[in-house]
């Protein structure tokens, strides 16, 4: 801070004399234009002089051996530094990426920071459609009635028979449900009272070769935990990713606090990071929250990964945004991403020698009596998780958050990559002059609502679309909430027009659905941006 103040003072000292010169010329001259031009020229001259000197200073600093990136060696503060937010002390001197754009949707029903151990789900399901890129009818390895242990393979994709999709819990396979076109939608397991695990033979990640590790991960069922960008597909075992990215905070509405989630499982997380660093030719990057109220868990700050700090509103916690600011994805790049709990499961393979599908899931939403965290496993049944916790009938259960989650119901199951369940009110009612004089407060980024007077007000949102779909009219709205060098509206239009080169050029590879979810939320024209983006991604994928 002191450094900054000093620099400002220097800046003032240099420009004060020029100011005095300007003042004199203004008072004595008759032709304002000529004199103001001279004044501008003098200013520019001084500015250039100072800039050259300043850059020489920076070059000198680099030459004398300083290696730190992103640090300002000049005597002047950068403009971004003058307006930089006050960072918490735990960030120390690390460079922080400050993301100005974004919006936090504050909703009621945040999960209390405790685990309700009394909540137990009995049925769990693996849902093939959770894994993007595999055939809708995978080859089944079990039948209804079979007894399975946690970690036993249930099915595989014919294109990649080595990747096993395994049971998250031990128990009896009670149903194999099929959806449209006979696609397998759910493999349902009724869990045993005491869990039995398939014993694994985990190699030592420090000494094992990359091939052995990949083979072990595919066989143990941990491979589907890894996702690959672009396209957000299942990771391709034939690829060596450029880098691996893990975001250690979730900024979505009501999202679980990952510092809380990782508690007690730090060792598994660190082990997971160690394993991942063997899988990539580059580095493993962790995105950390410089805006969090609490100190980030030591599991994140003291692991063997590259740490990057981010300060900003949602979607700063999205791994896609972080990749864009760390090392953006090009058309030929492949990077892998994982969530915190996926890394924990991956690490537990090696620390516990078993497939531990445990998930700390946040039950959230204004329609819950007791929003709280629960301890369960991948694919838990929603109805059982939310038993006796619902306030009203007419609600929507969402696996995931309200922006990019999937609509489900009491018979539905938690999606494979989700660690959150949200319950919101269905807004299927007419509202008299709802567009003009809304009675109930509702989240919005528009200042035409009095929301700006109550910046900390938490909303009880419902699923009403608040208007009908229209053509794109407003511009600049998406940019306001997307902290990336991307023009979302131009990109969406190029997708709708099927212009491949433009889609690639405008950065479709850098985006997945969750990144544009906030843009979709704010859209005045109520356009389905996530759907349009997926359509574009599929088109690009088919083109190869």
């Amino acid at each position: 801070m002191k450094n900054k103040a000093n620099s400002l003072w220097l800046l003032a000292m240099i420009f004060l004399p020029t100011g005095a010169v300007m003042g004199q010329s203004g008072s004595s001259g008759s032709n304002i234009l000529i004199y103001s031009l001279i004044a501008v020229a003098v200013l520019i001259f001084f500015y250039l002089l100072v800039q050259v000197a300043d850059n020489l200073l920076a070059i000198e600093a680099r030459q004398s051996g300083s290696q730190r990136k992103g640090v300002n060696y000049g005597i002047f503060p950068r403009i971004s530094e003058i307006f930089a937010p006050k960072l918490p002390s735990f960030v120390e001197d690390s460079p922080v990426t400050v993301l100005k754009r974004g919006h936090n949707i504050l909703l009621q029903g945040e999960a209390a920071a405790r685990i309700d151990e009394s909540v137990e789900a009995q049925t769990f399901a693996v849902q093939p459609f959770n894994f993007k890129g595999i055939a809708p009818i995978p080859k089944m390895l079990v039948e209804v009635g079979a007894e399975v242990k946690a970690g036993d393979p249930l099915f595989f994709d014919k294109a990649n028979p080595e990747i096993h999709y395994v049971a998250p819990v031990s128990g009896e396979v009670i149903a194999i449900n099929r959806g449209a076109k006979r696609a397998i939608s759910e493999v349902v397991i009724l869990a045993d009272k005491t869990q039995k695990y398939r014993s694994l033979n985990a190699p030592d990640p420090a000494s094992a070769s990359r091939e052995d590790l990949v083979k072990f991960l595919m066989d143990s069922g941990a491979w589907p935990l890894i996702k690959q960008r672009p396209f957000n597909l299942l990771a391709d075992p034939a690829e060596t990713p450029r880098d691996i990215f893990v975001s250690t905070f979730d900024s979505a509405p009501l999202a679980p606090d990952q510092n809380f989630v990782v508690q007690g499982r730090e060792a598994a997380f660190r082990k997971g990071i160690d394993v991942l660093s063997k899988l990539t030719s580059g580095k493993v990057y962790l995105g950390l929250n410089a805006k969090s109220a609490s100190v980030p868990s030591k599991a994140f700050t003291e692991s063997n990964a590259e740490v990057r700090w981010f300060y900003g509103k949602h979607p700063a916690g999205n791994v896609g945004i972080q990749i864009h600011h760390i090392r953006p994805i090009g058309p030929k790049d492949k990077v892998w991403t994982l969530g915190v709990q996926e890394v924990i499961t991956l690490g537990a393979l090696f620390t516990e020698n078993r497939f531990n599908a445990e998930r700390i899931v946040a039950l959230t939403g204004a329609e819950l009596k007791d929003p709280v965290y629960v301890r369960t496993s991948i694919g838990a049944n929603l109805g059982e998780l939310l038993k006796d916790n619902l306030k009203a009938e007419n609600t929507r259960m969402i696996t995931g958050d309200v922006l990019s989650g999937r609509k489900s119901g009491p018979e539905g199951f938690l999606d494979f990559y989700d660690d959150q369940v949200t319950v919101v009110e269905e807004g299927d009612y007419y509202e008299l002059f709802g567009w003009l004089l809304p009675i109930e407060p509702r989240p919005s980024i528009s200042n035409s609502f009095p929301n700006f007077l109550f910046p900390n007000l938490k909303f009880k949102a419902n699923t009403n679309s608040h208007g009908e779909r229209r053509a794109f009219v407003v511009t600049g709205q998406y940019e306001e909430v997307l902290p990336m060098d991307v023009y979302p509206q131009a990109l969406m239009k190029s997708i709708l027009n099927g212009e491949f080169e433009r889609m690639e050029g405008l950065g479709i590879y850098e985006l997945v659905e969750e990144d544009v979810a906030l843009c979709e939320f704010v859209c005045t024209s109520k356009q389905p941006l996530q759907q349009i983006l997926r359509q574009g991604l599929e088109m690009m994928r088919e083109q190869g």
Partner: protein, 435 residues
């Protein structure tokens, strides 16, 4: 109450197949009264409370002060020409009702024609009525002279909506600003009704051999006279009065084009021009009220401040250049164009419709550039080109309408340059990362 209203609406719903037009119209009014009960499907589960209806209505709201003062000013200018009721509150009711008699038909014709076409096209296409014309219909009356013949207005609105908007696919698809298209139609088809010195003050006509005179008042004026006399207030009378000496009806711009800033000051004070006590298009005269509307739009983020600021910058830049090129000594023999160029750049904001165009026309998001850097360029060029047309083109008295339509045409091109730069930047970035 809400329930019975809803039930009533549901009972009178026309059949969609049998009478599509009626159903479209019904749907427009129903969704006006009730936000539909549709819920989100796929994608996000909650939506922002803002929709296009609300957005458009905010613009209409921001225009209300201009409407109020515009209505008053029609009467004010009329009576000022006759040398009557000089003070602001003198004959207030007469000025207001004279204004209403002028502006209401304009408003009604604009919206009946525009909305009628919009409803008809929506019914044809089988989709809901889009809200675009809510704003166009509020803007068009404000940019017309008070004496515009109604058939001409209806024709121009039909032209703008059919060829300017529906031909391109409706709201959100148009290339040119719909309100300005309707004005430019009259401007080129019937130039004498929207330019010159005779059209800006209502109901004052030049009669051969006699000169300027107010017209004979019609039944509407007589009707209000009957009411006013009941209250014992002053009345309109019969009309056909002659104007005060030295009346020209010219706007400040016309005066400036003929003799520079001194010539303007001979007739109007800067104070008058700032507060809007001058003849002109109905809504454009009062600068503070327009600025209030503009600030509201900026605050609600409906209009982009970048366009407004860059437009002011562009106009200032061009004004400074013109000031620099103008000769130092202005004499009576100096060419008029040099006198106009010598008008100090800041006084250009006092004359004409710069602020109105800046606040409500250039910022139309559909026709403006859509990228942030593009908006800076777009606004700056409107400011610069508009002033060039205003000062250097002797045929057109005002420049903003043409400058905005001109830049509307190029906004896609500006965006394209910005997007190409973005694509190049991305290529460089990823190439640097991959290597």
């Amino acid at each position: 109450m809400k329930k019975s209203l809803l039930n009533f609406f549901k009972r009178i719903e026309p059949d969609k197949k049998k009478s599509p037009f009626l159903h479209t119209a019904y749907d427009a009014f129903f969704t006006f009264a009730f936000t539909p009960n549709t819920t989100t499907k796929g994608g996000v589960h909650i939506r922002d409370g803002m929709d296009l209806k609300r957005l458009m209505v905010q613009v209409v709201l921001a225009l209300q002060l201009c409407y109020l003062y515009g209505t008053y000013n029609i009467g004010q200018q009329h009576f000022e020409a006759l040398g009557m009721y000089g003070g602001f509150f003198e004959g207030f009711h007469l000025k207001l009702f004279h204004g209403l008699i002028k502006i209401l038909p304009i408003f009604i014709v604009t919206n009946v024609v525009g909305l009628g076409i919009e409803f008809w096209y929506s019914a044809k296409r089988g989709h809901a009525v889009e809200e675009g014309f809510l704003v166009s219909g509020a803007l068009i009356p404000l940019i017309m002279p008070p004496d515009i013949p109604l058939w001409m207005l209806g024709l121009s609105v039909a032209f703008a909506v059919i060829l300017g908007k529906e031909a391109f696919g409706g709201t959100g698809m148009n290339i040119w600003n719909v309100a300005l298209l309707s004005r430019v139609f009259i401007f080129f088809a019937y130039p004498t009704f929207i330019s010159g010195d005779e059209v800006w003050v209502s109901d004052i006509h030049k009669i051969k051999d006699i000169g300027y005179q107010s017209v004979q008042y019609g039944w509407a004026h007589h009707f209000f006279d009957w009411i006013f006399s009941g209250f014992g207030w002053s009345t309109f009378g019969n009309g056909a009065q002659s104007v005060i000496d030295g009346y020209t009806g010219a706007t400040p711009l016309a005066l400036a084009a003929k003799g520079g800033w001194d010539n303007v000051l001979n007739v109007y004070s800067t104070h008058q021009m700032w507060w809007g006590d001058i003849p002109g298009s109905i809504g454009e005269t009062s600068k503070p009220l327009i600025i209030l509307g503009a600030l509201y739009l900026v605050f609600t983020k409906i209009a982009d401040w970048r366009i407004m600021v860059s437009m002011v910058l562009g106009c200032t830049f061009m004004g400074l250049i013109m000031n620099g090129m103008a000769p130092d000594q202005i004499t009576a023999d100096t060419e008029n164009i040099f006198k106009f160029m010598a008008v100090p750049w800041y006084y250009h904001f006092y004359m004409g419709s710069f602020l109105f165009a800046m606040a409500f026309m250039a910022t139309d998001p559909v026709t403006a550039a859509s990228t942030r850097p593009g908006k800076w360029v777009y606004g700056f060029l409107i400011g610069a080109v508009g002033l060039i047309i205003r000062v250097w083109n002797p045929a057109y008295p005002e420049g903003w309408m043409l400058a905005i339509l001109f830049m509307n045409t190029f906004s896609a091109l500006i965006d394209n340059v910005v997007l190409n730069a973005n694509m190049k930047r991305r290529q460089k970035r990823t190439a640097a990362v991959s290597s």
